[in-house]
Symmetry: C5
Subunit: 354 residues, 5 copies
């Protein structure tokens, strides 16, 4: 399940910059892969020791170092020293459950976001913290586990599709953010479909399970919202940033991602409105059901209680009850009863209870 | 039905600027029509190849190129190349379901909005994305399908009505936006009428169908709101823009459209308040109904259950029951029963249940 | 009834500045009256042709031209030409249902507001659009029909009461706005009284009609709010305006009106809170009533159903029922019944149902 | 009772600056008292004519003129003339029910606020408008009636406690505001206690009276809020004001009052949240009660209706009913009935209805 | 219990800066401890008289003076005189229940915050006001009682862990704030767990106690929110402050704490949403229960009331009732009854009541 807050108790009281991994260990052992390219050349390899990265650091080619699995603290620590990252940055990378944010150091930019994925089978959203470090000609990405939404970007680099091979590290960084943001649309589509199918269920046959589902949906929406709102700030800050690491030509692409996050936020807010509308429908359908039950009870009781009373009257054992002796009394009583019943039925019909 | 989010899964992972048409194919084949005018001359024709547009590009006359049907990617791509549009712009044109926005490139302005139409027969709102490109002396408009709200503008150009023939491309662009915004009023009128007729229904005879209608209305309002809020930002940005493409004299007209969007937003917010008020009325009418049902049940049961008890007493078969032998016992029991009933009726009357 | 949106369908597609009257024809034929004054002189007359106004235009005296009835398009058009008003202004004057606003042209200022009036007999608020044009030494006011809140101002001018005769056209314009805003207080007082009487009704005897009244009140409040919020912006813009038409000495008076609109807004918001509080009370009073009904039913049914059962037992016709033969059986049964009833009554009393 | 709006109808249409007293006449005849002091000297007297004040106006000592009772228009008018106050200021002083505000004239500062007091016996809040005029070395305070929260300030001046005798008129003005604001805390304490005792009542035994109390509390909170929010603006404006009348050294004291108003606002907002939470509890306690009533009815009815039916069966008078003749039939029927009853009781117990 | 407002009545009317302790006396007698360090040296001692502190005031080492217990007014007063603190500051220190705030005096900075602690056993949050005074090379911290969240900081100083011994007083001050903020996470974790367990309870078996717990949770959230929002402003102001007391290198650490407070606020807002969602679930579960009760009643009553009526018919004592004489009448009546019952059961099954 999505958690709105991660266990941070391990960390309480430690000095700032102390490296403690917070979160589940999602990968057996950390995996480092490097993609190095410029317009002409391309190189991809999996490395096992941080030192191997260093050769790429000074070259003029763009280098993308991807780390899957951040629980190996030594490795992160080592990397931080090699690339001269601030201890607080390393702490944020390890401490999953961060709020998406952007920080501009002089010689690199640090970005944290949540990569979400929506699994049809589990009908739930999964979150993974992705941290990006953008340097002059390198991007380092930290993921909690293997598997991401970047496969198509790797493909574009490998096959020199689009303009990615012609652009710098800032464009690569943008592309990674864009892939993550685009993925939010897929998740929202999933939500849209669930909302629609739930609305049909609500009209057809609302059950207590429906309420549970509405509640779950609402909680996921709260989580999503908590992820996306800071994302907007992040991208807006990135856009307004005056860092020399982001070329002017990348600006228009960032504006595009920004528009997407606004659209995502709009959609989430609309979904929230719709979900709260569904709750109203659910509650009034409960009232409607109660009304229906009450009507049945009232009709039956109102019909038969007076008739039973009449029958009770002539079941009394008084010695002197003249009606009992009359020859047509029994059919007459039946006549009275049927008349009463018919009148009541007409009354109910008039009240639209039947 | 209106969808709050369009299927974008096709696009996930593609490089930015990749042209994929998102949305339903609403027109059989794309149709291009050109209107070229200045104060003296006027020319209108339907063309079949993009190349034919080029002759109008450099002339000093105002040229309006309208494309109905954006699913022909090649055509859009070709047009983009001829008019030197940024790939991201083309992507936004094809990718229907955009958030209304305004982007200022140096030599042209790009605008996306939603053209809504309210059909009385279907009792629903239909949305169509309209993209506008405003150049120095041309406007290109992209629509998803044939049929729009611009017919009167064409008429004004053809017959040189008003000042449109005397003004530049920026005024034409304004006129198109104005026509779309004006149309929102027609839609709001439709909503206003539906709300009023629903309110009458609510008072007279609320049914479960009424709730469904309120919910539908609410959803359409959410959609409308999602369309209009960014429209306001768009026009405000257009107004504040320092682009040389927009002459100062057009400023006052933009202020007028801006006022209209504010008015539309105010009205939508008021409608939302009223719709949520209707929900309260619906819910309390449910409670009122339940109360009415309960009262009937209570009156009947409370009247007859005690009387039936009395009848039951004298239906007992004890050997020694002195009352059974009395001569006036039977009428006396009747008297008691009628008295009890009358007292109860008086009680109910006092409680205002009758 | 108050309408949140006026029929504007007539206007859709027309060129901006096209003059079409939107709204009901509230006066038989338009009436033009002129008041011309300075500290020494005073002149008031009713004129029939626009040309007669022109003589006042250039004089140094302050001239107030008031037009009752704006459905005579030719007249407005003529006036617009004589005083060189922008076509969009004329359109706004005719097009009632405008949002209150302020526009600063170089040589005149244009103001639109709603003049409300609260009629005790109809228990409703009536709205009328008032447009003001403030020139260097004239004010033109446009009203939908005869009858306004300006009578006391006319009186002050006629009798040189207060400082109005000593001040310029901008002070006259302020005085008109002030009269309209002051009138809002009278309307709010009316609302306040209705809310109070409704609260008493709610406590004493809430009916379905009460709910209707709450809903009507809420709708009127929505309308009022929609009128007053832009009024605040209007006056604030007027205050901040750097137009030479507004002398510095008038600033303090505008601040005073501004304070009043803030106070009106505060009060409306408080009223809204109170009205929504009344709805809560109404709903819970419904629940309370239902509870009361249920209790009566439960007490009666719970008392008599067991007793009836006992009576039923001894109404059975078994051959071998020893109790039937006993001499004191009948009184004994009575004793049992009374005991059971008393126990139940004690139980109900303990539960506070009695 | 607190009123959210005062009768202002008297004033509609009057010229601005016309002096009309709005509000109840709270004091028999106006009372003027003067306190004049500097570090060395101190003088306190009650005066009867405005002229007596004038002698203090030009001296270098700090003078505090306090007027209890503002319904004597002549007196206020006279005072206004002597101290050269703007007519609009005098109007605001008389017109109780003003929104708290601050206005900076060149040679004096005008402040309006509400002095509240919470009476335990009446369980309600009372409001009184206090207007302050701060001049170079005098403070004039206007109150609606005798009795205020300034007694301790008078004491501090008389006995030269604290620094008040060493400071100027601006410090005195601050001290008066501070006393009023501090008093809000006492009122909030009262609210806090009422909320707490109401919460206990809600849990123990909610009645319709509780709902009434919650509603009253809510209304008082709305009133309080309407008083305090503008107070914050007022003090903030006072702090930012560049008037020479407020010495720099007083700035830190104003910051302190400002902090207090923020704290008051925070607390009011929290109280509002809590009161709306109490409403939820009240409503669900109503539902819980209904549930309890329904359960009793259902248990009794469900137990005895089937048993009565069985008794009814053997009360039939058919000639051929073999069971009637059986010797053990009667005890057998009892056995059946007891069994059915026990099964039902077990069922109810399982459902947790017992 | 947490109180939203502290008794301040003691203070009303006193001059500003008057020292009165507001709050419970939480410690027997005040305890003063001093930690003095620089990179090389370290000294820790408990002192009994304020004068002993003075020796540390002028040294270049960093001095942390911690006071547990603020009810000894003389001590605070003395300290204030020695360190030249403004009387308003001393007042704020004593007057617990302050809103978290930051004030910048020229030669020291004053900070107030709430230190919260969440006790699993009491299932509640406890608040304690901590005031910090940051001077050029000293930090004075005031706590209401013994016991805090600073133990790990003392440990880091003692053992020269991390960079704390190398940094100045501003870093120490940051570390104290950071420890308090970090502790909020622990509290939120506790809330998260309670919310989760309550959600499970809600689904499984909601009782009136559950509602009480939701309400308590909500109130604690209101309290938490009231503490944290100003905390954000405080840290933001600290960050933006241009005081020379805060070195530039500490800026990045403050940004880190700022991010944490934002995260805490986000989480609180999400929790609020979830708690209000739980209330909806609770209310609809009440309705569901009522529905279930009503169904049982309706089924039993609807089944047996008609059958009892039939039995009543043949219990009548008319002389001429042909059916009574028929040989198969009794079994036939049984057949009719069983048929009716079966039809009804089928009807109920169709309605999904069974």
């Amino acid at each position: 399940m999505l958690k709105l807050i991660k266990k941070q108790s391990k960390k309480v009281g430690l000095p700032p910059g102390a490296l403690v991994h917070i979160g589940q260990r999602k990968t057996e052992s950390a995996r480092i892969s490097v993609i190095d390219y410029n317009e002409q050349s391309f190189q991809e390899k999996r490395i096992s020791a941080i030192e191997e990265c260093l050769q790429f650091k000074e070259t003029s080619t763009v280098t993308w170092i991807n780390i899957d699995g951040i629980h190996e603290i030594n490795l992160i620590d080592e990397l931080g020293r090699q690339f001269e990252l601030h201890p607080l940055i390393l702490e944020d990378i390890l401490n999953t459950g961060q709020r998406p944010k952007f920080e501009d150091f002089d010689n690199y930019i640090f970005i944290v976001l949540n990569m979400l994925s929506y699994k049809d089978d589990r009908r739930g959203v999964e979150a993974e913290q992705v941290s990006l470090v953008l340097g002059p000609n390198f991007v380092i990405s930290f993921q909690e586990r293997v598997g991401d939404v970047f496969e198509q970007i790797r493909d574009r680099i490998r096959n020199a599709k689009g303009r990615i091979r012609k652009m710098g590290a800032d464009y690569l960084c943008y592309a990674l953010i864009d892939a993550i943001v685009d993925n939010y649309f897929a998740i929202l589509e999933g939500f849209g479909e669930r909302i629609e199918s739930m609305e049909e269920e609500l009209v057809a046959e609302p059950t207590e399970k429906t309420l549970q589902q509405i509640h779950t949906l609402k909680k996921e929406m709260i989580f999503l919202r908590k992820s996306v709102w800071p994302l907007r700030e992040l991208i807006s800050a990135l856009q307004r940033s005056e860092s020399t690491l982001i070329r002017e030509s990348t600006g228009i692409y960032l504006r595009d991602v920004y528009d997407h996050t606004i659209q995502i936020i709009d959609t989430i807010e609309s979904f929230r409105d719709m979900v709260s509308g569904m709750l109203d429908i659910y509650l009034s359908s409960l009232s409607n059901k109660m009304n229906a039950v009450m009507k049945v009870l009232t009709i039956v009781a109102t019909l038969f209680i007076p008739l039973t009373f009449v029958a009770g009257i002539y079941g009394m054992n008084f010695k002197y009850m003249p009606e009992l002796e009359w020859h047509w009394a029994y059919p007459a009583v039946w006549l009275v009863m049927v008349t009463v019943a018919v009148i009541m039925l007409i009354y109910f019909r008039k009240k639209k209870w039947l």
